[in-house]
């Protein structure tokens, strides 16, 4: 699950999941939902795959969210479903979504960037917690 939390000029994203794979998938959904809140209306007609290297969980999460943001920014593709496998040396992911359609996709925020400010990925109550602040 994900939720947004307060940060003066920007928005925080807090994500909880049972495992790292779920955490990274939910974080990506959370990020896209800040841009397009009606994620459930996104058709899953386009498939994309990703592979990223990195061993630190926080930096890997940062890089992963950046990839998802870049796909939206450069190709105007709204991704809504994510299958992520986080390993010791990086991650592999498949994502599905569709090209942006302003007639059906509600557009709420432009996310300028993912920030390192108070970025965290840590175990919590047998599961995982991530917090990231995005620049609006």
């Amino acid at each position: 699950m994900y939720e947004t939390f307060e940060h003066t000029a920007d928005l925080g994203l807090r994500v909880r999941a049972a495992d790292l794979n779920g955490l990274f998938a939910e974080a990506a959904r959370g990020l896209v939902s800040i841009i397009v809140p009606n994620l459930d209306d996104v058709r899953l007609v386009r498939r994309m795959s990703f592979a990223l290297a990195g061993s630190r969980h926080d930096e890997l999460l940062f890089d992963w969210l950046n990839e998802v943001l870049y796909v939206f920014e450069s190709q105007r593709v709204v991704l809504a479903e994510f299958d992520v496998h986080v390993g010791g040396e990086g991650l592999e992911a498949a994502a599905r979504g569709e090209p942006l359609d302003p007639a059906r996709h509600q557009l709420e925020h432009e996310v300028k960037a993912i920030t390192y400010h108070e970025l965290k990925v840590e175990p919590l109550d047998g599961g995982w917690l991530a917090e990231v602040i995005v620049d609006i």
Binding site: T4, F5, E6, T8, L107, E108, E110, K112, Y116, H117
Partner: protein, 489 residues
């Protein structure tokens, strides 16, 4: 809960009625004091979040001079606070920090005047705002009508807004009235990544979202007749104010730099209290690469605001059925408020060249400063301060106190007082556009939530912020402008 709800509880010592000190003894590692310019009442708002802590953190940066400074509109940012100023001396191992510039490199504001009065515009105001909203791309996911291939983008970034003259999208007067004449020397467009070029190729001439806007405003009151006259401002005159930056291209340049600098502070033995303060010595390969790319993105931003102004001129021309030249829609001035510049300052009795980081802060050079354009040399550089979309914005003129105290800098806006989520709760579903209409402001936005997050109550009262800057001798009041039309993302 996250630290978002915690206020600052550290020391703040009164220096004057408008200046407060965080002594460098507050945290081991601070190299200089922190100084916050604020009135006592604004200070209470400023203490509500962690912005003062960030002022203290910036004082850790190697080579920092005088003090880590903050303007009265400061609020919590990431790494640096928004409204922060810091100058570093390369000769003393000074660093350059992308976080001290911000993601939106050369975010800034420009003010365009006109020959139209409020009475002339009022009957056409709704149609004018609707047409601006239709013609000027705003909001997320919207491309502009200007598209540049990678080769053209590189020229645009090397040459700045003067490059648009030959394309018929700028006139020489526009360049003369732009900070740095719309071009930072030393831009290295080849250091701007493919990703940044992709994000920027069709966004030059688009407003974006968040706090960016284009407003139709009326000059409501004049406070300095001579300065207003030099700027061509008279009471009841209709103006256009534009607030935007370097769009996706600049965000990506910052992002690329932060990634490159991720482990660079350790490499140079720099200890930082916050990763978002990542930096590199100015005289290092990493520092020089960022500077080359940052300057290129800054030049892109000046082109972006130039193209936004050009589209506003076209719309006014259509609505009022006269060429923009006849409407005398001349640029008063364009200022950057997220930038780092290499400037000469007097520090501790010595003349030094330092890198002044202005993160949500505006250059405010005084009369007779050589970088102030000749038409403003006697009055000081115009300082354009956007407020909120319901109350006011301001034009000030830089004063000698800015050189003595703040590396030639003043505030950049009202500063947020409410988070975006708090603003949505505060609105409780109210129609902000209707409330603004009742106050005589026609507002159009792509996103309902965007408008709610930017509602006037989410900001400090800009009059109070400007009062501090004026009383502290950083910049003096010239004109107060009232919004009558707003378009946003």
């Amino acid at each position: 809960m996250a630290a978002a709800t915690k206020g600052y509880t550290g020391p703040l010592e009164r220096v004057t009625d408008y200046c407060w000190r965080i002594p460098k003894s507050y945290k081991p590692g601070m190299r200089v004091d922190g100084l916050i310019y604020a009135s006592e009442s604004l200070l209470e708002l400023i203490k509500a979040d962690q912005a003062p802590e960030q002022v203290a953190n910036v004082a850790f940066l190697p080579g920092i001079q005088h003090a880590s400074l903050a303007m009265p509109d400061i609020h919590w940012g990431y790494g640096f606070c928004i409204g922060g100023v810091c100058a570093t001396d390369p000769a003393e191992g000074g660093v350059i920090s992308p976080g001290g510039v911000g993601y939106d490199i050369n975010c800034g504001v420009r003010l365009v005047r006109s020959s139209l009065t409020y009475q002339e515009v009022k009957p056409h105001l709704t149609r004018l705002v609707e047409e601006l909203f239709k013609q000027v791309p705003t909001g997320v996911g919207r491309s502009g009508k200007y598209s540049f291939d990678h080769r053209q983008l590189r020229r645009l970034m090397a040459e700045g807004s003067a490059w648009l003259i030959e394309r018929g999208l700028a006139v020489p007067g526009d360049i003369e009235h732009t900070e740095a004449r719309g071009r930072l020397d030393g831009a290295e467009p080849e250091l701007v990544s493919q990703r940044a070029l992709e994000r920027g190729k069709d966004q030059c001439g688009t407003l974006g979202s968040g706090n960016h806007f284009m407003e139709v405003q009326v000059v409501e009151a004049l406070f300095d007749q001579a300065a207003a006259s030099a700027m061509g401002l008279v009471k009841d005159m209709v103006c256009v104010m534009i607030h935007s930056g370097s769009r996706g291209l600049g965000y990506q340049v910052c992002d690329d730099a932060l990634k490159e600098l991720r482990h660079v502070p350790e490499k140079y033995g720099i200890a930082l209290p916050d990763r978002q303060l990542a930096c590199a010595p100015v005289e290092s390969p990493e520092g020089r690469r960022y500077l080359g790319a940052m300057r290129a993105a800054a030049n892109y931003a000046w082109c972006n605001r130039q193209l936004l102004m050009w589209q506003a001129r076209e719309v006014f021309s259509t609505i009022f059925n006269r060429p923009w030249e006849q409407l005398r829609m001349n640029l008063v001035y364009d200022v950057a408020h997220n930038i780092a510049k290499f400037e000469q300052h007097q520090i501790g009795g010595k003349t030094k060249r330092v890198w002044v980081h202005r993160k949500g802060a505006t250059r405010a050079f005084p009369p007779e400063h050589p970088e102030v354009p000749s038409m403003y040399r006697r009055i000081g550089q115009p300082v354009i301060i956007p407020g909120d979309m319901g109350r006011a914005s301001w034009v000030l003129a830089g004063q000698p106190g800015s050189m003595q105290q703040t590396f030639g800098t003043a505030c950049h806006g009202a500063g947020r007082v409410m988070s975006r989520t708090a603003a949505v709760k505060h609105a409780q579903g109210r129609r902000i556009d209707q409330e603004l209409a009742a106050r005589g402001v026609i507002a159009r936005a792509r996103s309902w939530r965007g408008l709610v997050e930017e509602q006037p109550d989410a900001y400090k009262d800009v009059d109070l912020v400007v009062e501090v800057v004026d009383r502290a001798g950083l910049a003096r009041k010239v004109a107060r402008l009232r919004p009558i039309g707003v378009i946003k993302g």
